[in-house]
């Protein structure tokens, strides 16, 4: 990326983060959704107290994050579209891929903040075994899965932004495509929480997540100019 491209990337990221910190629309809705989902899971799975929930924890966590991320992704182009600023953005001599990476980075920041706040709460509610020794592995799963969610989500949010049923279209297209990532992230996270994670079991899942990320980053790189379309 050129010096001008890096400056444009920083400007786009700063603009999205500043706007969000002022309105807190995405962060508040994502955080509330994540906490409420945990409360619902807590009651739904507490019919019998002797049931060990450890092997459901990965699934509960990633279902919460994926639906929470959807709330944020659906709003990631709201300012551009509703305030007519997309025209202003497309008038600028900026590589469209720079817009993609800045939007994706902003979504990563927001999802990361939510995870930072909710993973400890989730651990208190549902995780019965200590996993301090595997904290690095959990961080790796979170980072790689977040990258895939935000790469795919940002690309699809851009495409759906230009449609009339954008609130419906994004989940309908996003959820089937995110299933492979969900399976890998869930099994890796469950193994970490259950303390059954060995290097041999984790590496293939981490490698799969990295491959998934690479595929959608390349797809976005190649198609974003078309995806963002005409203003």
């Amino acid at each position: 990326m050129s010096a001008v491209g890096r400056r444009q990337f920083r400007a786009l990221l700063r603009k999205d983060v500043t706007s969000e910190l002022r309105t807190k629309e995405m962060l508040v809705s994502m955080f509330l959704f994540a906490v409420l989902a945990m409360v619902v899971f807590h009651y739904a799975f507490s019919v019998r107290r002797d049931v060990d929930l450890t092997f459901f924890t990965g699934g509960m966590l990633w279902v919460t994050f994926i639906f929470g991320a959807l709330l944020g992704l659906n709003r990631s182009f709201v300012h551009e579209k509703d305030e007519g600023c997309l025209d202003g953005l497309l008038l600028c001599p900026v590589d469209r891929v720079t817009i993609f990476f800045a939007k994706m980075a902003a979504n990563l920041v927001f999802l990361g903040v939510i995870q930072l706040l909710t993973v400890p709460v989730f651990s208190v509610f549902f995780v019965t075994r200590g996993y301090w020794g595997d904290l690095g592995a959990l961080l790796a799963v979170l980072v790689l899965a977040d990258l895939g969610i935000c790469a795919l989500g940002t690309l699809l949010a851009t495409i759906s932004m230009n449609t009339r049923a954008r609130d419906l279209l994004l989940p309908i297209v996003f959820l089937p495509l995110i299933v492979p990532l969900l399976v890998a992230a869930t099994s890796a996270t469950t193994a970490i929480f259950a303390q059954t994670a060995t290097g041999d079991a984790l590496w293939p899942r981490l490698a799969f997540l990295a491959g998934y990320d690479a595929v959608f980053l390349v797809v976005a790189w190649g198609t974003y100019d078309f995806a963002i379309g005409e203003g």
């Binding site: 786009l12 300012h79 007519g84 025209d87 008038l91 600028c92």
Partner: protein
């Protein structure tokens, strides 16, 4: 940042539109439109709603791709070479293209960074002063009146020192005071830029125009490369457009 304009001579055509067509689905929004605007010229483009005026303007601004024909700005083709065109063109529309949750200064800083301006702070201060908004530079744009928004939109459009200004109904929704400020700003910068203005307002368009055109049904039905008086033009407009004025 140098856009590398292909033609710098004052007499050279700044905007050349040839056989332009735009199709949305099955609808021909623009059909075989051709015109030229000389450097420093001012084209006022009139026509009823849905005539295709805004579509032509958006194609010149690189916001839409033409379906047929060519558009060149300072020698650069808008389809094949859009980035130099984007550096040369500024757009003022009825929508201010500003982020409401950022301050006036933050909005201008964002656009200055997007255009890669080297003298960002100096240019922002100069333009805020010019549109008389220095005292509101750290206020959120969502607190601005429509007139203040439009003044800030003018500052945004002029930030990267464009040679061509595209105006899409710039007076729309403004109160008389804001119209006065906008008109005096346009008169002030009239000599420095080439303009294309889309408007329904005959008086405003004809006041500044060096050439006039009328579009109807996607076609250019009248084009005169000279200024005309309002009374004569109203008759011409009625003759060419079924809706009348």
């Amino acid at each position: 940042m140098d856009a590398g304009p292909a033609q710098d001579s004052a007499a050279a055509p700044e905007i050349v539109v040839e056989g332009l067509g735009k199709v949305f689905g099955r609808r021909d929004a623009v059909r075989d439109v051709s015109f030229t605007v000389e450097r420093g010229g001012f084209l006022a483009l009139f026509g009823p709603n849905g005539a295709g005026k805004t579509t032509v303007l958006r194609i010149v601004a690189t916001l839409l791709a033409p379906s047929s024909g060519t558009v060149r700005v300072a020698g650069h083709d808008v389809s094949d070479d859009p980035d130099p065109v984007r550096r040369l063109v500024g757009l003022i529309s009825h929508s201010p293209l500003l982020y409401r949750d950022l301050t006036a200064y933050e909005n201008l800083r964002f656009y200055a960074d997007m255009y890669g301006l080297d003298d960002r702070e100096q240019r922002i201060a100069e333009l805020l002063d010019r549109v008389e908004l220095t005292h509101r530079r750290y206020d959120l744009v969502r607190t601005f009146s429509k007139g203040m928004l439009q003044r800030l939109a003018i500052a945004r459009a002029l930030l990267h020192r464009p040679r061509v200004l595209l105006l899409d109904e710039p007076h729309s929704g403004l109160d008389p005071h804001a119209v006065g400020i906008l008109d005096s700003l346009l008169a002030e910068i009239r000599a420095e830029h080439t303009f294309v203005m889309v408007t329904h307002h005959l008086g405003k368009g004809l006041e500044l125009a060096s050439q006039v055109a009328i579009m109807d049904g996607g076609r250019l039905v009248f084009h005169q490369a000279a200024a005309v008086d309002e009374r004569h033009f109203a008759a011409v407009y009625r003759e060419h457009v079924r809706e009348g004025v």
